[in-house]
Symmetry: C2
């Protein structure tokens, strides 16, 4: 099998949302009237974003999930995506698994693979997604207002606990370990929630680099500060076995959870509780936006002076 | 400087064609009414698509140029692009050069960088471009018709000669060497030509893997065959110093020229001659589409039985 056979077998599928899919110089799509296009891109490098021996099916899932999460954070409906893939060798078993994980999640969200590029090289992949939303309805990082409640979806910290285990920082018991790896490798993009938050939430983002660090982006762009209530954070059950320092680190600075953090006016509390029940996604009030700047982490009202770094790919290791 | 500083300094520019550029979970754009979106993506890996010590400014240029070439081959007007970049280390000199080359070409074609992802890893980059064209006006690989003339823009083979020199297959004299590297490292995407070919050409593609191999894609999708006239091919002056076998290889199988190959009915010959003069881009008639299948290379009417491979990233080295 050569490069073209590989593309035909594993990556060429009918592109439901496109006028023309894989196979020409470009794919061709139409954007529906009155809609704005939302576009995001992520790059995943072996040994950096995932362990080299990761199950290829989960990698296919995760590579698309992290991008769908960006669409969710904007309130955009997934429409199409492209894939760039550098592979050290043509391994059919690996490709079959990877493409199965990718397509399964794509089908679930009705997003079409419309183009790509496959080449030889150190295992690296980049996915770019595009979604649509009614013009002017995006959930912007800049839309937070002092007085807004801060909310987070789902549970926090499990993915970080898996990374701590993988790096040898803490040995998780088997049950917690399985649960934590499941969250790290099979994140659930909160696409439906993102759509439901249009017109309800003010600012929103997805937590990919850690809650406290990511929240700073909302503060900076909304020109306000934030209080986070440590005791209110919805911790994953996996964290119960961790010492308190690691538990806090997982909750506040752990990446890879891909939950949504958003601000909303207090008047939306009842609506959000109903929405959580309807979607089957926990929504927890974890703090508030305040006048000022920066993120303050409080434990029962006391500032714990958290040094939230957030993840910096070029920071000191 | 950290990852965010890097993005702010080198990659955050006003995104003229976007409602929202770099800095949120997604960029937001609008597609003009009646227009179709054309999207393409390419991935470039160090040591595979470029020499590791290549001038970063030319790499920035080339990374975008190869994608603009895909838009040109479709007849689409460049609108916006995203960049995924894995870097072994944060080298400001390299980043300054790379981003200067990238932005200079972007400005020249009015295309906006609207999003990206930067991470640590083996030097790899992926650019995804989007352009617009009036719905239904794209130059498709499937639109060729037996009897069409085959045309190519510019000159062929210089980039391949540079690769032959770089790999030690043939030592080019200094003058030819400089000219050949200039073509390899600073390709000119034929964007204006692509726009002008809408409604004039039938099928079109850009030559990235070699004329004879790429032409097979038009034949396969248009369900026809093609004759290429070797003596008619517009050879770069650099090729004069090569032995005939390498000269033919550079002309027929050399990638990286990023010229457009297109088919057009005979009735367009005068118009195309005028267009060549108007744009200052040579257009040469190099063969024709015929009934049947496959690409035949003729020298003064005799089949030379050319074994055109085209480049396969996973083929035997």
């Amino acid at each position: 099998m050569n490069e073209f056979g590989l593309i035909a077998r594993y990556f060429t599928r009918p592109a439901a949302n496109a006028d023309l899919g894989v196979g020409d110089d470009c794919a061709l799509m139409r954007v529906r009237e009155g809609m704005q296009l939302a576009v995001s891109v992520d790059m995943l490098v072996s040994g950096r974003h995932f362990f080299a021996d990761v199950d290829p099916q989960s990698l296919g899932h995760k590579a698309l999930a992290v991008n769908l999460s960006d669409l969710a954070a904007m309130g955009a409906e997934p429409r199409w995506f492209t894939l760039s893939l550098a592979l050290p060798e043509l391994d059919e078993g690996w490709l079959a698994g990877f493409s199965a994980g990718l397509h399964a999640l794509a089908d679930q969200h009705g997003i079409s693979l419309v183009g790509g590029d496959t080449t030889k090289g150190p295992l690296t992949l980049s996915i770019q997604v595009a979604g649509e939303l009614p013009a002017g309805s995006a959930l912007l990082r800049s839309a937070g207002q002092p007085g807004d409640d801060l909310w987070v979806s789902g549970e926090l910290g499990a993915a970080a606990a898996a990374v701590m285990h993988g790096c040898g920082r803490f040995r998780l018991p088997d049950t917690e370990c399985r649960a934590a790896y499941r969250r790290l490798e099979w994140p659930t993009p909160r696409v439906e929630l993102g759509l439901a938050l249009r017109g309800v939430a003010h600012a929103a983002l997805d937590i990919s680099d850690g809650l406290a660090g990511d929240l700073r982006h909302i503060c900076a762009r909304s020109a306000c500060g934030a209080e986070l209530w440590l005791e209110a954070l919805p911790a994953s059950d996996c964290l119960a076995v961790l010492p308190e320092t690691l538990r806090r680190e997982a909750l506040l600075s752990g990446g890879d959870d891909y939950e949504l953090c958003f601000s909303a006016p207090a008047v939306q509390r009842e609506h959000l509780a109903a929405l959580a029940a309807e979607l089957g996604v926990p929504l927890t009030r974890i703090g508030r936006l305040v006048a000022g700047s920066g993120v303050q982490v409080l434990l029962h009202g006391e500032d714990i002076c958290w040094q939230h770094g957030g993840f910096d790919h070029f920071g000191a290791a």
